[in-house]
Amino acid sequence: MDARRLKDSLDSVARHGDEVPLFFYSDLFIKHPEVRDLFPISMKAQREHLIGALAQIVAQFDRVDELAVFLKGLGRDHRKFGTAAEHYDAVGDSLLATLAHFAGDTWTPELANAWSDAYSMVADAMRQAAKEDEATSPASWRGIVVSCERKAYDISVLQVRPDPRLDFVPGQSVAIESPQRPRLWRYYSIANAPRDDGTLDFHVRLIDGGAVSMALTYGQVVGGSLRLGPPVGVLTLDARSPRDILMVAGSTGLAPMKAIIEHLARLQVSPHVHLFFCARTADGLYDLPSLEKMSAEHHWLTVVPATSADRRFRGESGSAPDVVMRAGNWSGHDAYLAGPTEMVRETSARLTAAGTPGDQIHVEDFGWSER
């Protein structure tokens, strides 16, 4: 596979910017109108990701092992969108038509063959992964809303019962689609360890102008149904580690931490867990009562609430990384971080600078998907 050549040709085509994905999707929808239904009304986000995803795949052509893992995840993940085997050929056709259109005179039969071979390889890997996944799990789950509880002005806890049962590892997430916002999927961490009745808790923060969070906060009725994707994510417990645990949760970043703590509570012996629960104001510490109850029940759990902009709050105050760093030395701990991107990045950088090895710092990474 001539990765260099594909990369060069993609780079030169990519110079046309948004025109390229715009042409690609329009070409696809004209030739295969039925495919349009698999996509949301606004295609802006899709277009923004197309070239990046292609570039990422092309860049990995010389690291076949990594690429195989990536494509396997991608193929499995695409099942929930309703992607069928024949769609891959349609996409391949339109991809080649698009590249040919923008490459102009530089498009040669040899280049066309190189792209065609590369695409076949990618599509085969994805189709294969999807097929293998079909044997063990559905493309998506129906989730019945069991309860929806408003915990703060802008935070709700949604309890959902998936049908059929959805098995996951504490700390993982699933993508959720609301019937009010068809084809828009957003990832939410599962906020509990697996239960006998199979229900899942999700902590939903209302984002200003956020299409899905608004539908989930205001649009839910008990008994209503959602669609859930397969469990994904790497923010899971490193069970082989003998070290104590530092957890830093910003706002609803608490969800995966709670799932892991519930899991630890079922073990005979748990490492010590130091959880920092951080929000802007005391109002945002929406789940503090239940955390305090847990810490009263489990001697190995210490909960430190902190706010960054609340003069009336009587606990720790300051930004999450500031509060964490002045509380002690964490270089001997496993650190689990979740919350706003900026908070996670800053805390991770400060921990690293203070001597916590990189492989002891756990943050979420969905790899191929946006959050």
Partner: protein, 224 residues
């Protein structure tokens, strides 16, 4: 064909046939000038041949174009009007429609963003105001109570002044009642404030729901 009419000035026109007047024959013979009539007939014959040839070549051209279009419909290329061009044109039309739909969604989202952001700010303001007011009322009550306590301590403890003692007792009783009334007021005020916040949150939620429902109606452009 118009071009060839203009180029060939010598061509015979219907007007020419209409307008022709033959010369009379020379003196002593009757009728028209035979030579003139023959020459005119030669012109008519030449014109007829030219017209027939043109007709055949036009017919051939029509047939050729017709075949090309039919072939193009079957194979998708080498079409007179360019099937490729038509496809690119269609792609462009669909792309523009998609961009319009994207703008509608983006506008609706921006609107909902503004709404919730303003609601959040207003809520924070009201809460802050309520809290400040509560603190003020509390501080005032505390200071009144401590003044009363100090006054009762400093009051001359003259046992003979039974009247002033009972007056002091009345004063304390008054202050106690006053404190209770103040606390009740404070509670009522805070609860009222909370109720109005809740009410307002409910309204806001309704408005947002309506706005987004309205937006999705607007956006029912799923197939641009």
């Amino acid at each position: 064909m118009t071009a060839s009419w203009q180029e060939d000035r010598k061509r015979l026109t219907p007007d020419d046939v209409q307008a022709v007047t033959f010369r009379l024959s020379r003196l002593g013979r009757r009728g028209l000038d035979e030579e003139h009539v023959r020459s005119f007939l030669r012109d008519v014959e030449r014109e007829l041949v030219a017209l027939l040839n043109e007709k055949v070549s036009l017919w051939n051209e029509v047939e050729r174009l017709r075949r090309r279009i039919i072939k193009g419909m079957k194979h998708g290329d080498e079409v007179l009007f360019g099937r490729e061009d038509a496809h690119v044109h269609a792609v462009r039309i669909l792309s523009n429609a998609q961009l319009t739909a994207d703008r509608y969604v983006a506008d609706a989202q921006a609107y909902s963003h503004r709404l919730t952001e303003e609601a959040r700010t207003r809520r924070d303001e009201i809460l802050n105001e309520a809290q400040q007011h509560a603190e003020l009322v509390l501080a005032e009550a505390t200071s009144q109570a401590s003044q009363a306590a100090i006054a009762s301590l400093n009051a001359p403890a003259a046992p003979q002044m039974e009247a002033s003692r009972s007056a002091l007792k009345a004063e304390i009783a008054y202050l106690r009642t006053f404190g209770e009334v103040y606390r009740t007021h404070l509670r009522a005020y805070t609860e009222g404030m909370l109720r109005s916040i809740e009410e307002w949150e409910r309204n806001e939620a309704g408005a947002i729901e309506q706005a987004s429902a309205g937006a999705s109606d607007l956006l029912d452009l799923r197939r641009p």
